[in-house]
């Protein structure tokens, strides 16, 4: 029981971190960024390359990965999303295509074998009969800190409030003197950075391979659909619902089914409550 509780919190923390960058773009830019999973992959590989191939220290490697994610976000906004202005379907299709292209790029550069990322933080913890790696513990703590920081930023700063404003009423934001283009670009940068940070943790929890973008994308989509257009707090709650559901499934039913219930939950919520459990449109 204790084991389920601990594992549940750890996994959920990771999931919240995975989902929050995706939610952000969805609520501020109204874009379902299906290339979001590719940010995680980019982050994971950038960290792998800088730390394990080039031998850089971990912190600069981490920052490098974060920067790559932010850059990817900005480029996607400028070159793709902004140009397809407003055409939801075109944006979704092209972001999905982009994810596949990035996958091909990764195969080209790193080949398609799986790679093991060394834990970011080594060592284990023992609580009773449960062992947890420091690595995932750090991922959870980082997730909480990042989400808390993001919440403070959004609620308490002018720029953060501007992001909220754009998410609630773009015209209202513009006539308040907010440059919505700049806010969007910044949101894409933050989203990309969050995605790649999540990617480093995710890859160190699982492994690096060129199709690793799919699973986190599904998690992120699930959180947005189940939670509704995402508030940060809503993201946190739903990440815990999904995380605990997976751990409970794995522990008591069968490990093979862990993703299945997440998908069933998506469909169930879509049918019963399309606006999501907490949906209302703000950050």
């Amino acid at each position: 029981m204790l084991q389920v509780l601990i594992q549940g919190f750890l996994l959920s923390g990771l999931y919240a971190l995975i989902a929050v960058g995706f939610t952000l773009i969805f609520s501020v830019g109204r874009v379902l960024n299906l290339a979001y999973g590719a940010y995680l992959m980019l982050g994971g590989y950038a960290y792998f390359y800088s730390v394990q191939t080039l031998g850089m220290p971990k912190l600069p490697g981490f920052l490098f990965a974060t920067g790559m994610g932010a850059l990817a976000g900005v480029l996607m906004y400028r070159l793709l999303v902004k140009r397809l202005k407003g055409d939801q379907v075109a944006v979704e299709i092209s972001t999905l295509i982009l994810a596949v292209v990035i996958q091909a790029g990764v195969v080209l550069v790193f080949n398609d074998s799986s790679k093991i990322l060394h834990p970011i933080v080594g060592g284990v913890w023992r609580i009773g009969s449960t062992t947890i790696t420091n690595n995932i513990l750090v991922a959870m703590v980082a997730s909480w800190i990042i989400l808390g920081g993001l919440l403070l930023f959004v609620k308490k700063t002018h720029v953060g409030r501007a992001m909220q404003a754009v998410s609630m009423d773009a015209k209202g934001a513009r006539i308040s003197g907010i440059n919505t283009d700049r806010v969007n670009m910044m949101t894409w940068a933050i989203s990309g950075a969050l995605g790649s940070v999540a990617g480093v943790f995710f890859a160190s929890y699982t492994q690096l391979n060129p199709s690793m973008w799919v699973a986190p994308l599904i998690i992120a989509v699930a959180v947005v659909i189940v939670g509704g257009i995402g508030s940060i707090v809503g993201t946190l709650i739903v990440a815990h619902i999904i995380g605990f559901m997976e751990i409970i499934t794995t522990t008591f039913i069968a490990a093979e089914l862990r993703g299945v219930f997440t998908m069933l939950l998506i469909i169930g919520v879509l049918v019963i409550r399309p606006q999501g459990l907490f949906g209302r449109g703000d950050l």
């Binding site: 002018h158 409030r161 609630m168 009423d169 283009d181 449109g281 703000d282």
Partner: protein, 234 residues
């Protein structure tokens, strides 16, 4: 010099043209009314001034051409806007809405908050309420307040009385008059409620299907029998 100077303004939504060559100017310190029936182009005119609609021609604010500027820069130049349907941030509190309005004027926040609370005391008591749950009158006050927070020189107000009870309309008229007289704010009001516009404005422009039909003082317009029949019925 006119604070706002519009010359040969054409505006369109995609293929549909909504304004056909409007020219008008607004003197500093005045209250100007724009009246006209549904679909005449009152809101389009205001949106054009804010750079929200595709347009050609010239719009100058305090002598500066704004046609190429982003809306945010037009706000910085000193144009405040309380648009049709308010466009508030529904899940933010009254106070947060006002703070967003101060995005370009962060040094004057305290002073402006005080001014808004002085004009609309209700907002002071309800500062923590989400605007999604507010009454129409309160929302209109938040909308005006948010526009004031940017410390504007000129305030554009689109149909501030729509759907509001006479008593609330009077309150809003009083607030606009005070802003003009005590604080020297220049005000442009678009209205279908002709009497509201006539009671406040020194100059009225009548807009019909995208063109100015006539301009003049309220007295001049009242003395025109055709206009009286069309707009001032009683």
């Amino acid at each position: 010099m006119a604070l706002l100077e519009i010359t040969d303004l054409h505006a369109r939504y995609g293929m549909a043209k909504s304004l056909h060559g409007i020219s008008l100017s607004v003197e500093e310190g005045s209250i100007v009314g724009i009246i006209g029936p549904n679909g005449a182009g009152k809101s389009t005119l205001m949106d054009s001034i804010m750079g929200l609609v595709e347009n050609t021609g010239s719009i100058k604010v305090a002598g500066q051409e704004t046609t190429r500027l982003d809306t945010s820069d037009i706000v910085r130049l000193g144009v405040g806007y309380a648009p049709e349907r308010a466009h508030l941030f529904p899940y933010m509190s009254v106070r947060e809405n006002l703070l967003v309005g101060a995005f370009t004027a962060r040094e004057t926040i305290e002073e402006k908050l005080e001014q808004v609370h002085d004009l609309f005391p209700v907002l002071k008591d309800r500062w923590a309420q989400e605007t999604a749950t507010q009454s129409g009158g309160e929302r209109q006050m938040v909308s005006l307040g948010r526009a004031l927070m940017s410390d504007p020189k000129i305030l554009l107000v689109d149909e501030p009385t729509i759907g509001l009870a006479p008593k609330i309309c009077d309150g809003i008229a009083r607030a606009l008059k005070r802003l003009n007289q005590e604080m020297g704010l220049t005000v442009v009001i678009a209205e279908q409620n002709v009497n509201f516009a006539l009671s406040l404005a020194q100059e009225i422009h009548v807009l019909e299907t995208g063109s100015l039909r006539v301009s003049g003082t309220p007295e001049q317009l009242r003395s025109d029998p055709e206009l009286t029949k069309a707009y001032f019925g009683h």
